[in-house]
Symmetry: none
Subunit: 204 residues, 4 copies
DNA sequence: GATGAATGAGGTTTCATTCAT
DNA sequence: CATGAATGAAACCTCATTCAT
């Protein structure tokens, strides 16, 4: 089942991302993916076992792309809180640069029927780095002592939402800036005292 | 579109909610809705112009139910910050009590293809009450001075996410309590100083 | 089954004519007729036994309207050939004045499934007058000695076709005038010698 | 849309022609076509993009068949007027030999909703030949100086009408012969003088 | 491995007609 | 008589998946 022509494989993934971003899961079909990729319909089943399997691959690909973009933007030498702020801004930039990837990822993550069906690849180093950042933050009493999934939720979903809102004109830089969003997210994930500290560091 | 037999209308809405909650938009069909409601499929078109129109009705119904539940739980005499905290808890209770309604609402709100296609009914008084709360909060420099949509996002989505996580075992009361979630959300939406004030009021 | 509210009856007929003219039999339905007439769907079955019966009534109505218009325009004192020419021009004027009626009639007459299912009302005096004209013409060796139906075909269909062509820009007055069409039709229905005579009378 | 199994394609076209001839556009459906062709309904969409596209293919096929039959019967060495007379008789013979093809073509040509939606294939040589005949006739002052579409109308529709009338008993050889029809059509399309000339040539 | 063909199920919508009120 | 509701059939079209070449 694996990959003779890697170029076609990639084209299928890319087409699937575009399709998901444009119409959501409800309008997603192997037929459309193949057409968009310029590949015969039945070829989808050479590269993927079935529709579900294709979606899983899309999930892995988008998570990975996003993690890499975010991890790359983090300065390891900065304060932990500052590293988080950086990750938020990086995610925002990424969401503006690659809206389809982000939207596709959101579609897949949000879907009721697929929820938690997808297992994250354990060996994604970029992903691990971010995970490590959170663990450390909790241990050092900088971050709220809650489940990492919840922290991650606050650090991603609102940013996706805001980025999409900006792209579609729901938000504008004047009514709601990215700086304000960063403050809000930091206010949620940081413990009160580190939050104050971080705020003062910002205003200097 | 005048409806005599309101009972069937209601059954269709209820069936649609259940279906959306169970399978998302991708697995939603008028055929299934009708079957679930125990009604011939073509009857759906007596009560609704088309599929889209049915979804719109579901949207209105779920928004309304949720707004009512939340608005009812708010004590008008409490401090504004405290009213917000109440609304968060009310929303959480509602999400646990009526998970299907909340999930259906989320499915409809989150969908790429439908996004912002649905117009909120302007005359929903429960909804207006919450909107008013936010406006006042911003004017009085208690809430972050951002677009009301973004405030509302923070005040709903994370709660839905957490409630669903609790229901599915992703979160448990010991690793992450609702109290902690309330603090996080308040940290996001309140301005730093009112946040501090509110925190102290909590610990007393 | 017959007609309490004659106004609604007429509205249904008129709506049916418009519908047939706009979309042909393939897009004709009792649902659409009722909607166009602003009348509840099920009311169609008060005024007409069924769809077929409604179409039959439309047929009678359109044939009658057309016959009256044509018959009224014929000068009984003119030469027989000239009377025919008048009828051609009258039909053309009528087709331009009431395109929907003419098109609906054509749709009904041309349809394979209905063909010759409709019996012409025998008591239509306007219709009888034209029929009489043709009989006389054949008897007097002015018209070609063929079946009256065929004469009538030549005296109507090409005119409908031309009128519609004019309305839709297929023909224009400069490339093909109504005068030329009259000559062609007269050339078809008149016997050669009367045709020559008629032609000379024209040029004087 | 490349077709391997041309046999099924042809069967679909043939089934469509029969269906159109039997019931007109109003009773035409892909379901029925498929059933008549002995093929699953969804297979229609392997060979044709949609219903409209199937009808277009039927149109091309019938026009082509008819043009070929007519063109083949024309003796290039005969007088132009005589060639036209030949084409009329050829069309009549064709209409008797292949009534379904002719009726289907008429149904498609006459329909209000489809009118002028179908583009004639420019590369149909048989069709071109007839068109050339008409152009020449007009240039040489043999045919009436009108739009070619109108000439073509007179040279086809009445013949179809007559042939169908014969088949259904509306006309019989004794009341109205094909010879008489030829004279009528020639009287319509020829200019008066060539018409006289042609008539005399006939009686010799 | 690649591809066009095949297929049966399912989806949305419209319809003609009937019925109860 | 008028009308909204009801219904089952049928229409068009798309899909996921399999198969033969």
């Amino acid at each position: 089942m694996k990959v003779k022509d890697e170029q076609k494989y990639d084209r299928l993934i890319a087409a699937a991302i575009d399709l998901l971003a444009a119409g959501g899961l409800a309008n997603f079909s192997t037929t459309k993916v193949a057409k968009q990729a310029g590949i015969p319909q039945s070829n989808v089943y050479i590269y993927f076992k079935n529709k579900q399997s294709l979606l899983e691959a899309v999930f892995q690909a988008t998570v990975h792309t996003e993690s890499v973009a975010v991890a790359a933007a983090i300065d390891d030498n900065a304060e932990l809180a500052e590293q988080l702020a950086m990750s938020i801004r990086a995610l925002y930039d990424f969401a503006l640069a690659q809206p389809a990837v982000v939207t596709a990822l959101q579609v897949l993550t949000e879907d009721v029927a697929l929820k938690q069906k997808f297992a994250l690849k354990a060996d994604d180093t970029a992903n691990q780095k971010i995970q490590h950042l959170l663990t450390t933050g909790v241990t050092q009493n900088i971050l709220q002592p809650v489940d990492l999934n919840l922290l991650r939720y606050f650090l991603t979903r609102p940013i996706f939402h805001y980025a999409e809102g900006r792209r579609h004109g729901l938000y504008s830089a004047t009514t709601t800036s990215i700086d304000e969003l960063v403050v809000m997210v930091m206010g949620a994930v940081l413990q009160p005292t580190p939050f104050q500290t971080w705020l003062q560091a910002q205003s200097e």
